[in-house]
């Protein structure tokens, strides 16, 4: 294994024996963490730590990979139960100062617009954007995804990160939580009770339909609009919830099964950028 990505992070998590004390996560062969994998692994740690699992991590042998995790306070950030951490400590982790920072997102009123503006401020700190990407569109997508977490996850904390690959002509962002996940969230809605008996990937697909959670107050357009924006930008999106996933690429949508059943929702958006 070299890069930890959407395609192998679930297998890594599935290989961890959670019955052992401590449970060992072997990252020795990893030399790069893509945003989705970073967030997914973080949510894996956070969820199981809250369940009382103790972890031992074999750190990457690759110096750059190891140093990146250290710079991001990866273990301190995810190896705790957010329900018991004092709010004052959470606040210190919620300010993005640059690309590649991992940002914690608290569930509270106004968080979606705050995080979206923070992302825009990082991407466009001055008159011209730092990253040659549609900054406004990125901010809008972030707003929709963070709002989804705040409205539907029923968890106290999410995480967000972004990376720009100048030579790869690519910009990635990822967000994840270990809340109740899409299937349970939809099944709480009287219109969608039957989804409780369907695979997670079917529930995830349903979540992309416009008005899926609409009531008299409106709603249910977040993922649909993010998908529209991703397509307009010529990008792609991956979303995992439970043991299901949905991928969006061009006009294609595909769904299937992850190798691990992780509660919550973890998503990544990839956007091609100009050279």
């Amino acid at each position: 294994m070299n890069s930890l990505t959407f395609f192998n992070v679930d297998r890594l998590c599935a290989s961890v024996d959670l019955t052992k004390t401590p449970a060992v996560i072997d990252l020795s062969a990893v030399d790069f963490f893509e945003p989705f994998a970073l967030i997914y692994l973080g949510m894996f740690l956070r969820h199981h730590t809250a369940q009382g699992v103790g972890f031992q991590v074999v750190l990457p042998q690759n110096t750059k990979a190891r140093n990146y995790l250290t710079r991001q306070n990866f273990w301190q950030r995810f190896n705790f139960n957010p329900a018991t951490l004092p709010s004052s400590l959470l606040q210190r982790m919620t300010t993005a100062t640059s690309l590649n920072d991992i940002v914690d997102i608290e569930r509270r009123a106004g968080i979606a617009e705050e995080v979206a503006q923070a992302v825009v401020d990082v991407l466009c700190p001055g008159r011209f954007p730092l990253v040659p990407v549609d900054v406004g569109a990125v901010g809008e997508m972030v707003s929709e995804l963070v709002d989804n977490f705040a409205l539907h996850a029923h968890g106290p904390l999410a995480a967000f990160t972004m990376q720009w690959y100048p030579n790869g002509h690519r910009f990635d962002l990822a967000i994840g939580d270990c809340g109740i996940g899409i299937r349970r969230s939809l099944a709480n809605n009287p219109r969608h009770r039957a989804v409780a008996n369907q695979p997670h990937h079917a529930a995830a697909l349903l979540a992309f339909q416009p008005g899926v959670t609409a009531s008299l107050a409106g709603g249910g357009t977040g993922l649909w609009e993010v998908r529209n924006a991703v397509r307009r930008l010529g990008g792609a999106m991956r979303l995992a919830t439970g043991d299901g996933y949905v991928q969006v690429w061009g006009q294609q949508m595909k769904r299937g099964q992850m190798a691990f059943d992780l509660t919550g929702v973890q998503a990544e958006i990839w956007i091609p950028v100009r050279g």
Binding site: N2, S3, T5, F6, F7, D31, F32, E34, K64, L99, N100, G110, A112, E113, A116, Q117, V120, V135, G136, A137, G139, E140, S143, E144, D147, Q163, W164, Y165, P166, N167, G168, R170, H201, L205, F208, Q209, P210, G211, A214, A217, G218, G219, T221, G222, E225, N228, R232, A236, Y245, V246, Q247, W249, Q252, M253, K254, R255, G256, W270
Partner: protein, 138 residues
């Protein structure tokens, strides 16, 4: 002459549905009679959820026909079309700044999409092989 209000002057972030509803109430504080032109340009972000929040309030109040949305941004006009597609019982009106007359928004098709069920994640659908060490992220 219609009152003209710029959405950025309403003093609320132009993101999320609740903020859209709040923007409507701010608008109503300035708009007390007749019709209004709501200019949607001039803000760095304008989400569909926000627009939907405004439209939902206007719809509930029976005031949609008194509002003209103005934008020079194709993307914003497309969003208005999608909002119109979500509320087929409503008629939204829009015009470009350079146009004199408003026109009713053509609702965008709001289709339910299926997704192919695949036996495995397969090969990556887009070029995302690990970048070379010299091209690590900034």
């Amino acid at each position: 002459m219609d009152l003209t209000v710029r959405v950025g002057d309403l003093g609320v972030p132009t993101l999320t549905r609740p903020r859209g509803r709040e923007a409507y109430h701010r608008l109503r504080e300035r708009w007390t009679e007749g019709s209004v032109v709501l200019v949607l340009d001039g803000v760095s972000m304008l989400s569909l959820s926000f627009l939907d929040g405004i439209v939902l309030e206007l719809l509930a109040a029976g005031e949609l026909d008194r509002v003209t949305f103005v934008t020079d941004d194709v993307r914003t006009e497309e969003k208005i079309g999608r909002v119109a597609g979500l509320h087929t019982e409503a008629v939204l009106y829009v015009r470009r700044p350079s146009e004199q007359e408003r026109r009713s928004v053509v609702p965008a098709a709001v289709d339910v999409e299926d997704a192919e069920l695949e036996p495995s994640k397969g090969t990556e659908p887009y070029p995302s092989a690990p970048p070379p060490l010299s091209a690590r992220p900034r």
